[in-house]
Every structure is written in structure tokens, then in C-alpha cells.
């Protein structure tokens, strides 16, 4: 250990600091502080000459701790750390005294500001003189990614990573990938056939040598950390052996059980031995155990003999657990549509001719239950009302946010009605129309010109009058109550976080923003990262999005996820917790408060006895320090934020007013 030699550098920041803080006096003050070998001031320390000044002094005065009194450490801490490193001393032997944002910019009185700057500086020097050199560790990265969710976001992300050359596990809970996009008829504003543009991507996934597709699967456990996640995946039994099924479908007719078709949102029936939709990937059947008489009661078994040749049906199949090691994870678990029964005044569930936007998509789709004819009770509706913002921008249901797609998909659906039933009268109730995307406004304009009536107003009630439904609303432009008779009401339901999202969030330790969607690391600058290193977000799990945004975010997440994979190493946080074995009493308080499961109790031999002692996984630790405050014996400390260092600041701040 060599003697502590602190160099103090005071930045004028042009006049930003100098005009309020007497830098000459401050430099004089600093030079007299304990352990300070040299104190200097300079006009712009962050400039190259400023950094050179520090570097030269480090060599000339053999400095081993540096204090920079300048702007916020949130600005230039990395800059000066680099300078220290290049001068040959440990970059963590730096402490920044924030005399700009916290002093010169917020005070006017020069004397008082200077006094406060002295106080800040003295405390910073006190801490700096106790700093220890720290190391960032490097750990190897397993060059494999895991994508959670097989909707368009997951598909895009998986393809991008696979194309980059890394292996990807794509985990989808349903029997086929495709997600919500597969259920859509057309996409706005271009009116592409949704399935037509999606299915080629799906088959790419199915055929990609780098993608291992795990459908009908869920994750059940996640351990490890960036570069080295260990994920346990449960493969639910589909009772059809995937490798053997060739999708011929001969078995279907032998299955005697019908059930509501989930792909068509229960608007039609399917057999309980089924393929979700013809283009499903994998093109493999599945048996729904909740309906199959064999899985329920060990009866029936009529399907099995049909597939004798391939032997693909296995009604005794059990769930399987697979453990995979991956370096990074992309969460693309998607969304649910808002459940409109939560707004009973709209009559959903009560009247069969009140449907959701997604249900409309199935009705409108050529692959849907009506092969594309929009029919209600066997008749084409003559009057159709669309209602915007169902479950969005609505504090009464706790969703303050805009779902971003409803305006446009309603416009699209209104257009489709006009297309299919040209004489239909279509009314749209809206609050605001948000047509902000590329081609959106143009599309909205086109739809309006097609004769669709847009009425600004809140719908108060939907009720039945004879055969017809009546939509009662307040037209806020006219300021009057209006009633519109209609045959069909389509609710533009918004997006909500998936009902089962908590399970995944807890497994991955992800936090949610106040709207309950997953929280990104930074709303502006790190929109696809999460607070957990190596875990990224794509698509609507992070918040409502349309398809192009989702695809863009998925590609972004994929390229982010590829960074550690291609670097092959990740650097870990240096200011992590460390345990003094001799003081640890093995109570596990630190283990309990750690948000990252970074601490565990490990049997350790202390003075000849084996006792449980806390042990920090430095890769998992993010350096929050919650464990330090929980520890009663002072055994666990956070590097660069030790009790000793913080107490020295406390003492120094007190002394300044003695």
C-alpha cells in the first residue's frame, strides 16, 4: 500500500462555475485538505488539455486518487475514468465533486456558493482518500440467445439473431408461432393481407438451421446472468410426436370431440385434435387435453390407430423439461386485448352483435369462420358503429395510456365494411383520431371520403331496442346527446399486458412501468434494454405498438442481444458488494434484500469450523448496496460506497460547519 496522494482539479467550466464559485479560493482551500498533494484549477477540465493536465500531474506527483470538482458525475465520470486509466492509475480511484449542477448553477451568492463548494469538496476528498482500486471482471458469453414469444416480434428477433449467425431458442406457448398478427385480416394502412406477409417469415423460422423452435412451451425457471443464463423450459405434451407428424390431417375426422376454435376466438368450432391454422409452424397437430376424452377420462383413443404408419399420435406423452444455456434473452411476450366486459355499459357479452376489433378481423378474414363475409345472425349488417378507445385512455379501468393501433385498425375495418357492404352506414365514435404514422393520415382521409361518419364523442351506453342496438353518446363537437341505431357494434379494444405476464416478469425479475407493461432501462436512450443486463424487450410486452414499430423494435432488440454474443465477453459492475467472512454471521439478511439473487449463503471454513457465510456473485450484483444497509454486523460492504467512505463524508460535511 502506498501513501494516499490526492490530486484535486477544479473546473471553471468556462464561466459556469467560475462566475458563482471563487475557484481560486476553492483551490487554495483544497490544497490544505488532508492527503491532498496538489490542487489546481482549469478552465475546462473535460477538454483534452484539461485531461492532459491531470494525466501529467498523476505522473509528476505520483498521485493515486483524483478528485475532480466540476459538473455532475453523471456527465463526465466516464471521461475522467478514462483519463485515469490512460495515466496508469485505477479508474475507480476517481471521485467527482459536483459543484456545477449542485452548486454554481443553483446559487447566486458567491460567498455562500464558495463555502458550499468547499464543503462538497472536502467531503469528496475525504471519501476519495479512502477509495480502493477496483476491477471490472470479464465473463465469457454463451453465444446463444433465447426469444420468448413467437409473435411477429419474436419471429423477427429470432430471424435477425439467427441470420447474424447465432443459435436461437424461440419459445412459444401456443402450438404454433404467428401470434396476434396471424389473426388479422388486413394490415393498415397498406391493406396487405396479414397472413400473406407473415407466413413466409414463419416458415423461415421453421427452416432456419440456427433456430430451435420450442412451441407449446413455457419457461419455468431462469438462473444465471448476462452471458450465462440457465433457462428451464417446459414443453407441454401435445400428444402428437412433432418429428413424426407430417400434417396430413387424416386423423381429424376420427376425432369425435368438438371444441371452440381458439384461433377464431371461439367464433367457430374445431376438433380437439387440431392444427391451429393451415399455415401453422410447426405444421404439427395438437390435442387439447381439456377436451380430449382420453386425456380426461382415459376413453376414446379413436385417433391413435389412424396414424399407425407414422405413429405420430402418443396419448401418453408427458410434459418435458429442457434446460438451455443462453447468453441473452429477448422478451417478446406480446399483449392481450382489453376485456370489454370490464365496461358493461358497452354491452359486450350481453349482445352477440357487440364484438371486439379482433373478432371483427376473424369475421372479415377469408380464413375465418365466415370465410370473409361479415355476417351477423346470418345477415349482412346495414348499420355499423365503431367505438374508439375501449380500455385505453380510460382512467376508470386504470389504463391511462393510448393503445396506438385502435384508431388505425378501426379506420381499416370501417373501410373493409364499406368494401364488403358498400351500402352500409358506418359511424365511428372517437375521442381523438391519432393518425401519426407513415401513410396513416392519408389512409384516414381516404376512409373519411368513403362516407364513413366520424363523430367525436364518448359513448355512454349501448342498449337494445327491438332487433337493433342503440349506441348512445355525447357528441362533444355538437354538444348534444346522439343515439345511433345499429346492427353491429365493433369495439376498438386496446392492448393490455398479458394476463400471465407476472409469471414471466418474476422469473426474469423484470419490473413494470405504471401501465403494467414491462419497463425499459431508459425511456429515451435505452428503449429495448431492461434493468437486467442481457435481457431485452421487443414488441407489445413493452407497450402498445403497431406492426412496423414492433418489427423495428424486434430488430433493435436482436442487434442489442447480439452485442454481447459477438463480443464473447461481458464486463461486470465493479462497484459491487463484498463480504468480510470473519464478520458475517450467516443470517442471510443480505440474501433476502438482494433484488438480483446475487448473494447466497455458502458453507465456508472459518477458524476451523464450517459455517454459512454470505457470498456475492459479482456478475449478478448490480451494486445497489441494499445488502449493506441490511447487514447488522457490517460484514458486507459495497465497493466505492463502503460505510467507512460514506461516514467519512458525513463527518466532513458536519465539520465544515463547526
Amino acid at each position: 500500500m502506498s501513501k494516499t496522494r490526492v490530486g484535486v482539479y477544479i473546473c471553471h467550466c468556462g464561466v459556469n462555475i467560475k462566475s458563482t464559485v471563487d475557484v481560486t479560493k476553492l483551490t487554495e482551500f483544497a490544497s490544505k485538505l488532508p492527503h491532498v498533494s496538489v490542487a489546481k484549477d482549469y478552465i475546462y477540465l473535460c477538454s483534452d488539455p484539461g485531461q492532459e493536465l491531470i494525466k501529467n500531474d498523476i505522473n509528476e506527483f505520483n498521485l493515486n486518487r483524483i478528485v475532480v470538482a466540476a459538473c455532475s458525475p453523471r456527465m463526465h465520470e466516464p471521461t475522467f475514468r478514462k483519463a485515469l486509466r490512460s495515466a496508469g492509475i485505477n479508474p475507480y480511484c476517481l471521485e467527482i465533486a459536483n459543484i456545477r449542477e449542485h452548486c454554481s448553477w443553483v446559487h447566486e451568492d458567491i460567498e455562500k456558493a464558495t463555502k458550499k463548494a468547499e464543503s462538497i469538496l472536502a467531503a469528496t476528498v475525504a471519501k476519495a482518500s479512502l477509495l480502493e482500486p477496483l476491477e471490472e471482471k470479464e465473463v465469457d458469453v454463451i453465444p446463444t440467445a433465447l426469444v420468448l414469444g413467437g409473435g411477429i416480434a419474436g419471429i423477427q428477433a429470432a430471424l435477425d439473431i439467427a441470420d447474424t449467425g447465432f443459435k436461437v431458442y424461440l419459445v412459444e406457448k401456443d402450438p404454433s408461432i404467428g401470434g396476434h398478427m396471424m389473426q388479422l385480416d388486413k394490415t393498415f394502412p397498406t391493406l396487405d393481407c396479414s397472413a400473406c406477409i407473415l407466413t413466409p417469415k414463419m416458415s423461415d423460422v421453421g427452416n432456419h438451421p440456427n433456430i430451435e423452435l420450442l412451441t407449446y412451451s413455457e419457461i419455468t425457471n431462469v438462473g444465471g446472468y448476462v452471458g450465462n443464463f440457465k433457462v428451464t423450459i417446459k414443453k407441454k405434451p401435445r400428444y402428437i410426436i412433432e418429428d413424426k407428424c407430417n400434417g396430413c390431417g387424416n386423423c381429424i375426422s376420427y376425432c369425435p370431440i368438438e371444441m371452440p376454435d381458439p384461433f377464431n376466438l371461439n367464433l367457430s368450432k374445431t376438433k380437439c385434435l387440431y392444427i391451429p391454422f393451415p399455415q401453422a409452424v410447426p405444421a404439427c397437430f395438437v390435442i387439447d387435453p381439456d377436451y380430449c376424452r382420453y386425456t380426461l377420462n382415459r376413453e376414446c383413443k379413436q385417433c391413435e390407430p389412424v396414424c399407425k404408419e407414422l405413429g405420430a399420435i402418443d396419448l401418453k406423452q408427458k410434459e418435458q423439461f429442457i434446460e438451455v444455456d443462453v447468453g441473452t434473452i429477448i422478451v417478446a411476450t406480446g399483449f392481450d386485448t382489453f376485456d370489454p366486459t370490464l365496461k358493461p355499459e358497452l354491452g359486450y357479452g350481453l349482445y352477440p352483435n357487440v364484438i371486439t376489433g379482433l373478432e371483427f378481423e376473424r369475421l372479415s378474414s377469408a380464413s375465418g369462420p365466415t370465410t370473409g363475409d361479415v355476417m351477423i345472425n346470418g345477415k349482412k349488417p346495414k348499420n355499423v358503429v365503431f367505438i374508439h378507445c375501449v380500455g385505453s385512455r380510460d382512467k376508470t379501468v386504470g389504463n391511462e395510456y393510448c393503445s396506438r393501433v385502435c384508431c388505425m385498425y378501426t379506420a381499416k375495418q370501417a373501410h373493409l365494411i364499406k368494401d364488403k357492404i358498400p351500402d352500409a352506414k358506418v359511424t365511428v365514435f372517437y375521442i381523438d383520431v391519432r393518425a401519426f404514422g407513415k401513410g396513416f393520415e392519408e389512409f384516414y382521409d381516404r376512409v373519411k371520403q368513403e362516407g364513413i361518419i366520424y363523430r367525436r364523442g364518448n359513448v355512454a351506453e349501448v342498449y337494445k331496442r327491438g332487433e337493433k342496438l342503440v349506441v348512445k353518446a355525447e357528441d362533444t363537437l355538437l354538444g348534444q346527446l346522439v343515439e345511433v341505431e345499429t346492427d353491429l357494434v365493433v369495439l376498438a379494444v386496446g392492448m393490455v399486458p398479458r394476463a400471465d405476464s407476472n409469471t414471466v416478469n418474476n422469473l426474469l425479475k423484470l419490473s413494470q412501468s405504471s401501465d403494467k407493461f414491462l419497463l425499459e432501462a431508459h425511456p429515451k436512450l435505452r428503449p429495448v434494454d431492461t434493468a437486467s443486463d442481457g435481457i431485452f424487450l421487443a414488441g407489445c410486452c413493452q407497450g402498445p405498438k403497431d406492426i412496423p414499430d414492433t418489427v423495428a423494435q424486434a430488430s433493435a432488440a436482436a442487434s442489442k442481444a447480439c452485442i454481447p454474443l459477438s463480443q464473447g465477453k461481458v464486463r461486470t459492475e465493479a462497484q459491487v458488494a463484498q463480504v468480510n467472512d470473519l464478520l458475517c454471521r450467516g443470517c442471510g439478511f443480505c440474501v433476502e434484500v438482494c433484488p438480483y439473487d446475487a448473494i447466497e449463503l455458502k458453507p465456508t471454513v472459518i477458524a476451523g469450523e464450517t459455517v454459512d457465510v454470505a457470498s456475492v456473485n459479482e456478475v449478478l450484483c448490480k451494486g445497489c448496496g441494499a445488502c449493506v444497509a441490511a447487514c447488522l454486523s457490517g460484514a458486507i460492504q459495497q465497493k466505492s460506497f463502503t460505510d467507512e467512505q460514506l461516514l467519512s463524508m458525513i463527518a466532513s460535511l458536519g465539520e465544515s460547519y463547526e
Binding site: M1, S2, K3
Partner: protein, 274 residues
Amino acid sequence: MKNPYVPEIAKIIDVRDEALGVRPIKTFKVSFQNGHDFNHRPGQCAIIGLLGTGESMISIASSPTKNGYLEFSVMKLGKVTSALHACETGDTISIRGPYGNGFPIDDWKGKNIVTIGGGIGQAPLRPILQYILDNREDYGKLDIIYGARTTNDLCFKEELFELEKRDDVNVHLSIDMKEEGWTRFVGFVPTNLLEVKPPPDNTIAITCGPVVMIKFVIKNLLALGFSDQQIFTTMENRMKCGIGKCGRCNVGHLYVCKDGPVFSYATLKDLPEF
């Protein structure tokens, strides 16, 4: 009356690394600013410290025959010694002392001397060597038996290598485990002692080192025919006041700081706790 708790201030005039490793050792050469004369005997200790940090009892590693300075070899262990290790030439430290009884070196005139040291335990023996070499004609044969775990832990290496070249001193160095380039003895100090086999006649044996080593050295000395009165050792305990008042360093009724640190085995063996 002189206040025994108030230290003198001295300046570090040289710092030397003795041993590196987990518990590094440095030797500090200090002199008093006002030319104050310390007047110590070999084997005595002083309390050195840093104001604001605290004090630590350290044996004086230089002989009174070396005028104008004192040397202290300090192993980095606790709060004070760690702070001392961060000191450099030009820094000041505080000194109180000298304390303790020291070796009855004048009583040993005309006798053969064997010192048996281990690790940092050579530090209190070093003033004996210096003293005898500075008064060579007063003493008989001088054997230096000294060892450490590794060459890295061997203190005063250069000096001892120099002494090896002299005719009037026999130096027997050892390290515990084999190392490349080490041609001298490999093994523990007590074993080396049996190799050297100093004859007990008219000889005084002084040993210092880890407690376990001392116990085996004494056992082997007795086996070689040394009597209890011919064997001396120095002890250490936690100390604070250095003047036999604060209570903690007692071994039996004797205080290591005041009545020690030098004890003949004849005294020591009757004390409880040894």
C-alpha cells in the same frame, strides 16, 4: 514529571521493503527532529504511531551503537501498522519509549551467542547482532540461525548475505520449502538448529519468532544441552500503554511491555499461560 503518554515526533528518513506477500514487512529508519537521544538497549521496544490513527508496540530493530537513527521493522496487520505502511520518507511518526527490559547483553560478554529467528522475529535479534559486531572483541562465537517461509518472507536478506561472507560470524539461513536457486538449508528453523548443533558450553541462545517455532526451538535447545538460564526469548502481546499500567499484556504477573519483552526460559517456564 515526564508524561509517559506523550510521544516525541520523529521523521522517517528511509523506508525499505523487507518482505512482500499477504503480510508485508517494511523497515522504517527514523530520526528525531531535535536530535533527541533514545538510549535504548538491544531487545527494547518503542511505541510508534501516527497521531489520529493510534500506536503500536514495535521492537527496535537497530542497535544503540548505530547513532542518529532507529529502525523498526513493521508487519502490516492492523489499523496502525497498515497506516504506517502507507508512510514514506519525510513523513513524521510519533515515538514513545524505549520500553521493556532488553537483553542483558553486557552480562553476556565473553560468551558465545546463538540467535535463532523466524520471520519477523529476526527484528528484535538484529540489534544483538549489530551490537556484537560493533563490539566484536567482547563476545565469543556468533551464530545466526534464521529462516522464513519463503525467500520473499526473509527479512534483512542483503545484510545477512553480506554477513555470510565474514569469518567472525556464522550465518545459517533457511526457508521452509524448496525454491529454485536456494542452495542453503530447506526446512523449519528448529530443524536447522539441530543441523547447526551449537554447543551449549559458555553459550547464550536467543530465539524469537512465531510462538510455535519458539516452543520447538526451546525444546531442541534443551535437547542440545542448554540450560533454562542459557535460553532467552522475546514475547509479544497486545499492548497499549507500554508502561505496565493498562493491563492487557500480562503473562502471569509480568507485563510484557515493562517486565519483558525479554524473558529467560527459566522465568518463562514458571509463568502460567506460556
